[in-house]
């Protein structure tokens, strides 16, 4: 049974394991979408279902086996039990019988000794009766004993006379009158050779005295057998006289003398004196015996005489045949000619084998349950796979739809833009015609709308490009501070108009030059600042750039002063409650920063620079429920916003996309009515190469102009002072700070004496509205009153303010030692202002500054200009000459091919795209073909490199000139072998970015 359950267990385990494996396999399959082979999965699932079915059938079968084996076990044990019980009974019966038989034997010897051995006999009937009655306990199974004498016919008469009765014949036939059996009625025995009349008998069988035992057939046989063998002989069962019970008679022969064991039957017969018979009452014998045994109720006992095999005689036991198992036990009653058997049966039907039934049922139930579980698992697996496949399909469709959407947007936007330009052009023209004021107003409105539409389309195009993944980030070196100055300059007009303070602060830990995509970076910041600008009517917009590590380090400090909003209570005069740039409360930024990935995990890339840029404003803020959808495209904070402030709501989602594209995160904190602070992180690389060829919006100031100067910054608000210091320090000027008017005056006085510092920067609202101007006025007054000696040099004083009236600036200039710098502060304005005030480099024109860089690149370069239009040619040549290039002009593509056939000395070629006869693309293709041919020939050695100026690889940079920069694509130019494009007419910046790339290698030093 254990073996079976073990087998079953193994089967179940193997099934489960197979299913698991299948599950895993299908998982693997699902992961690898391309390998998803649905048919094979189905087939294997079918197979596992079949295996499950087989397993369940096997399990049920094994439960049946368990049942049958247990049942067989029970049956065997029952039979064993029966056999044991039967054998026990038989043995006891035999023992008891033997005991009785022995006693009868002893009685026989007694008779032989005392009846025949004594003369006269010591035993008479009375003695025999007494003796036998008193020794009945020795023969519990015997109904009675009697002694019959051997009487020959010749002796009959004498015998009869001697005893006084006739030998009577035993009447066997009369059964019905057994109980009133009267020996007197018996007939005398017929004449026979010999007789065996009973002479002594026990009280219980006194009636058989004088009956001839030889006349009964059973007794006769018995006597003969006993006499011949010398042992006890048993009759077959018969109805006993009188008691009418079935019984057997045991006969012992009494001999005249002790015979040897090997005496012949003849000797024995001869020596016979008489016979001692004892009748066993079998039913009572057996009853008595069974009475003594336990569990007699359980079994049914039958006793058979089986001397005659074919018709056994039932000696004991009711006749009804109980079905069920039978056990036979053989009993030896000491007579070898007689055979007896005991048959035992259980009285009751065997009880149902409950234990076997329960166990096998339990196994079957377990099997079914496990089967059910596995089946359910298989089904759910199948369902999951189906669902997965359906999801996969849906996902594919969704993605396809998304791509289609993006493509549609991109296409449509592009298509709209082209005619829109026409519309705008026509509107412009319409404005120039003679219109009355109403019409003028309509046209202006239409143009404004058109411009807004173009703007929107550009944004949509951007978004679509980002979403379809077509935007690629550039990696060029750039100056973060320059970018931020540029952003500030973009918004300076607006901030001045609105009276908002716009400021930038770049931490000095941020490296000067980073590598990344400056345009996208700028776009992000521009978007954020533009957004803030839109929603801010008072207060400030403050852009800060820090390193992530720096903020992490100063987190504790940061937390401490995250109480930027903490009220400044120690100065009661201060009308501004907070320690921020404009003194207005701002949204606490640290909360959104904390959630950034970069703040949680450190970035271990070696040269990665992680920047955090925060744009803080004191605008209207964003309501709580609007905060969740602020980065969703076309979702503004709420619909009323777009009515009040305009805009499409697409800017922030573009910003988010761009930030994520740059590997950063964007977040914000906002408090309605207080302001919002947007923060984002971006990853750049540190530029370790020489920063010579950085693209700048503003020419780099010559730091040597101001190097070593000292400046005093007077400002009561430290946030603002910090910004001023940041900008001034960038010029290489040392800074001191005076926060209170007392310290300012004392520093100023000292300055007058020691002529250091050279510069003083005072905020216009240093300690409150207009207090900066007041300070200046009081200084001037002091000077006019002569308190200070006029011989002493007065440091230049610069008043910083976002709005400075003309009268104020005139006053500053007239007094001679003051000037004003309009906020927002940026490097170029401060530098220009300082130069003007200090008289450094006044002659140098700004435009010259800007073109210096270009000049450095183009000086001495041989450039071929190809254009069919004489005017264009002239202008292009003029422009390039201005930057020091040596320009050659040709009119057509064919001429250009001639000129550019190697060897030549040109460093670059500017090619008009649209020309008659042969356009720029065609010409370029042909030029490239010629170059390739020659390069190949040089390589194979067909042409000597010497005759080609030792250049093994001829490739002259060809730049397309196109009037339509928007339409021009880099790919389009690259396709036909061009290296880039420039706008026509030239724009300095664009020209530079196109040219610098090709000419930088040998143009690092323009002076050489």
């Amino acid at each position: 049974m254990f073996y079976l359950s073990a087998l079953f267990g193994t089967i179940v385990i193997s099934i489960v394991r197979t299913i698991c494996k299948r599950g895993k396999q299908s998982n693997k399959l699902c992961q690898d979408e391309k390998l998803l082979q649905i048919p094979s999965a189905k087939i294997s699932r079918k197979w596992s279902k079949r295996a499950l079915l087989i397993g369940v059938v096997l399990g049920l079968f094994s439960s049946m086996c368990i049942f049958s084996s247990m049942y067989a076990d029970v049956v065997v044990r029952r039979i064993e039990n029966l056999a044991n019980m039967c054998d026990e009974r038989a043995r006891m019966l035999q023992d008891q019988f033997n005991v009785s038989m022995n006693h009868v034997h002893a009685l026989a010897i007694l008779v032989s000794t005392f009846h025949h051995g004594k003369n006269p006999s010591a035993i008479d009937q009375k003695t025999f009766e007494d003796f036998t009655a008193r020794t009945t306990f020795e023969r519990p199974l015997m109904s009675g004993v009697a002694y019959a004498l051997k009487v020959l016919h010749s002796e009959r008469e004498r015998f009869e006379q001697q005893h006084g009765w006739k030998i009577k014949k035993m009447e066997a036939g009369d059964q019905s009158h057994v109980h009133d059996y009267n020996p007197e009625k018996l007939e005398p025995s017929p004449i026979q050779d010999e007789y065996a009349p009973v002479i002594f008998s026990q009280e219980t069988v006194k009636h058989i005295i004088s009956v001839d035992m030889m006349s009964g057939k059973e007794d006769h046989d018995n006597i003969l057998r006993s006499r011949a063998t010398g042992k006890g002989a048993l009759t077959s069962p018969f109805k006993l006289l009188k008691s009418n019970h079935l019984g057997v008679v045991l006969t012992f022969t009494v001999y005249k003398y002790d015979l040897p064991p090997n005496a012949t039957p003849e000797e024995r017969i001869h020596a016979t004196l008489g016979y001692l018979g004892a009748s066993f009452d079998v039913p009572s014998l057996v009853d008595k015996l069974l009475e003594q045994l336990a569990s007699k109720q359980k079994i049914l006992v039958k006793l058979y005489d089986t001397t005659n095999r074919t018709s056994p005689i039932n000696m004991y036991g009711s006749d009804f045949t109980a079905s069920g198992d039978l056990h036979r036990s053989y009993i030896d009653f000491g007579d070898p000619t007689r055979k007896h058997e005991m048959h035992c049966r259980f009285k009751h039907e065997p009880p149902l084998p409950w234990s076997a039934i329960t166990i096998s049922m339990a196994v079957a139930i377990i099997v079914l349950l496990v089967g059910q579980i596995i089946y359910a698992t298989l089904n759910s697996l199948e369902e999951a796979e189906d669902n997965y496949r359906a999801m996969l399909e849906l996902k594919g469709r969704a993605e396809a739809a998304d791509v289609a959407k993006s493509q549609f947007l991109a296409t449509v936007s592009h298509e709209i833009r082209t005619p829109m330009n026409g519309v705008l052009g026509m509107l412009q023209m319409l404005m120039d015609t003679e219109l009355d004021t109403t019409q003028q107003d309509f046209v202006v409105t239409a143009q404004e709308s058109g411009k807004a539409l173009i703007n929107l389309i550009n944004e949509v195009l951007d978004l679509a490009k980002i979403e379809s993944g077509r935007i690629e980030l550039e990696t060029v070196p750039f100056d973060v501070r320059d970018i931020l100055d540029n952003v500030v300059s973009l918004f300076s007009e607006k901030s001045q108009a609105k009276g908002i303070e716009l400021a930038v602060l770049v931490s000095d830990q941020v490296p000067d030059v980073l590598t990344g995509d400056p345009w996208r970076f700028r776009q992000i910041i521009t978007n954020l600042v533009g957004n803030s600008m839109k929603f801010t009517e008072r207060g400030h917009i403050f852009i800060q750039v820090h390193l992530v590590e720096e903020l992490k380090r100063t987190k504790i400090v940061f937390d401490d002063i995250s109480a930027q909003n903490r009220e400044v209570t120690d100065n009661p005069d201060n009308t501004m409650p907070c320690n921020t740039l404009s003194g207005l409360e701002v949204a606490d930024n640290w909360k959104s920063l904390e959630n950034f990935r970069m703040f949680k995990f450190s970035n271990d890339a070696m040269d990665a620079i992680n920047l955090v840029v925060t744009v803080e404003d004191t605008g209207i803020g964003i309501t709580k429920d609007a905060q969740t959808r602020i980065f969703t495209p076309f979702m503004q904070a709420d619909s009323s916003t777009s009515r009040t402030y305009g805009g499409t709501g697409i800017g922030l989602s573009i910003t988010k996309c761009l930030v994520e594209l740059m590997g950063g995160e964007i977040g914000f904190t906002s408090k309605p009515g207080v302001g919002s602070t947007f923060s984002f992180t971006a990853i750049f690389k540190e530029n370790r190469r020489s920063p010579g060829d950085i693209k700048r919006y503003h020419s780099e100031p010559t730091p040597s102009d101001f190097q070593g100067m000292r400046a005093l910054i007077i400002d009561g608000r430290c946030a603002r002072a910090e910004i001023t210091m940041y900008h001034v320090r960038r010029l290489g000027i040392w800074c001191d700070l005076a926060a209170t008017s007392e310290s300012a005056f004392s520093s100023l006085l000292e300055a007058c004496n020691s002529s250091s510092p050279n510069l003083v920067f005072v905020d216009k609202d240093v300690w409150g509205e207009g207090s900066g101007m007041a300070l200046y006025r009081s200084l001037v007054d002091l000077r006019l009153k002569g308190t200070h000696k006029s011989s002493q040099a007065m440091p230049k004083i610069f008043l910083l303010g976002s709005s400075i009236s003309p009268s104020e600036s005139d006053y500053l200039r007239l007094t001679g030692y003051g000037d004003c710098i309009r906020k927002p502060l940026r490097l170029s304005t401060i530098a220009a202002c300082l130069r003007k005030a200090l008289g450094i480099g006044v002659t140098r024109q700004n435009s010259r500054d800007q073109s210096l860089v270009l000049r450095s690149v183009l000086t001495g370069k041989q450039i071929l200009v190809v254009d069919d239009n004489a005017v264009n040619r002239k202008v292009a040549a003029g422009a390039l000459k201005k930057y020091g290039a040596i320009v050659t002009c040709v009119e057509s593509g064919i001429d250009a091919i001639d000129m550019l056939k190697p060897p030549h000395t040109f460093d670059a070629c500017f090619m008009d795209v649209q020309m008659p006869e042969m356009d720029g693309f065609e010409a370029t293709r042909l030029i490239r073909a010629v170059e390739k041919k020659i390069n190949d020939m040089i390589q194979t050695g067909e042409l000597s490199a010497e005759s080609y100026r030792n250049k093994a690889n001829w490739h002259v940079p060809i730049l397309a000139m196109t009037a339509d920069v928007i339409q021009a694509t880099f790919e389009g130019c690259m396709h036909c072998g061009m290296d880039g494009y420039v706008s026509k007419p030239f724009e300095e910046l664009q020209l530079y970015s196109a040219v610098a790339h090709f000419l930088e290698t040998n143009a690092t030093d323009p002076s050489s």
């Binding site: 023209m429 120039d432 004489a870 264009n872 202008v875 422009a879 201005k882 008659p916 009037a963 026509k984």
Partner: protein
């Protein structure tokens, strides 16, 4: 000193900018003029005027024909557009853009109409340029190199 050629010149140029005849490109041209190329502006302007006159003549001829070759018209207009862009003749350039659209639509009426406006604008500009060049010459006469 109200009527010095210098003032007149700057007034004229300012006026041209204000009326939208010229754009920043012309300023760029002026900046290109220096000691190494003293007559740069006048050279370019002269070129532009001659070129423009020729093109307008060609266009007039082309459009007079019963079957107009719009491709050729387009090529000429493109040239004119390029030239005007180079000198910063904003108005002429914008009209050229419009002209090309009509060309692409093969609308002869539209072309004729825009040719008229181009012509008007061009001659207007040319007369102003001529005044300008005259003034420049005067200035250069006053302030010889």
């Amino acid at each position: 000193m109200a009527a010095t050629p210098m003032n007149q010149l700057s007034a004229l140029v300012n006026n041209m900018f204000a009326t939208g005849l010229l754009d920043e490109q012309f300023q760029q041209l002026q900046m290109l003029q220096d000691a190494s190329a003293p007559d740069f502006v006048s050279e370019v302007v002269t070129l532009f005027c001659d070129d423009g006159e020729r093109i307008i003549g060609e266009l007039t001829k082309l459009l007079e024909k019963s079957s107009v070759d719009f491709d050729r018209v387009d090529a000429f207009v493109h040239q004119l557009k390029g030239s005007s862009a180079s000198v910063g003749a904003q108005k002429v350039k914008n009209t050229c853009i419009q002209f090309r659209e009509f060309c692409q639509q093969k609308s002869r009426d539209g072309c004729l109409k825009t040719l008229d406006s181009v012509r008007t604008e061009f001659y207007d500009l040319r007369s102003k340029f001529q005044t300008l060049l005259q003034l420049e010459r005067q200035i250069q006469g006053f302030y010889p190199k």
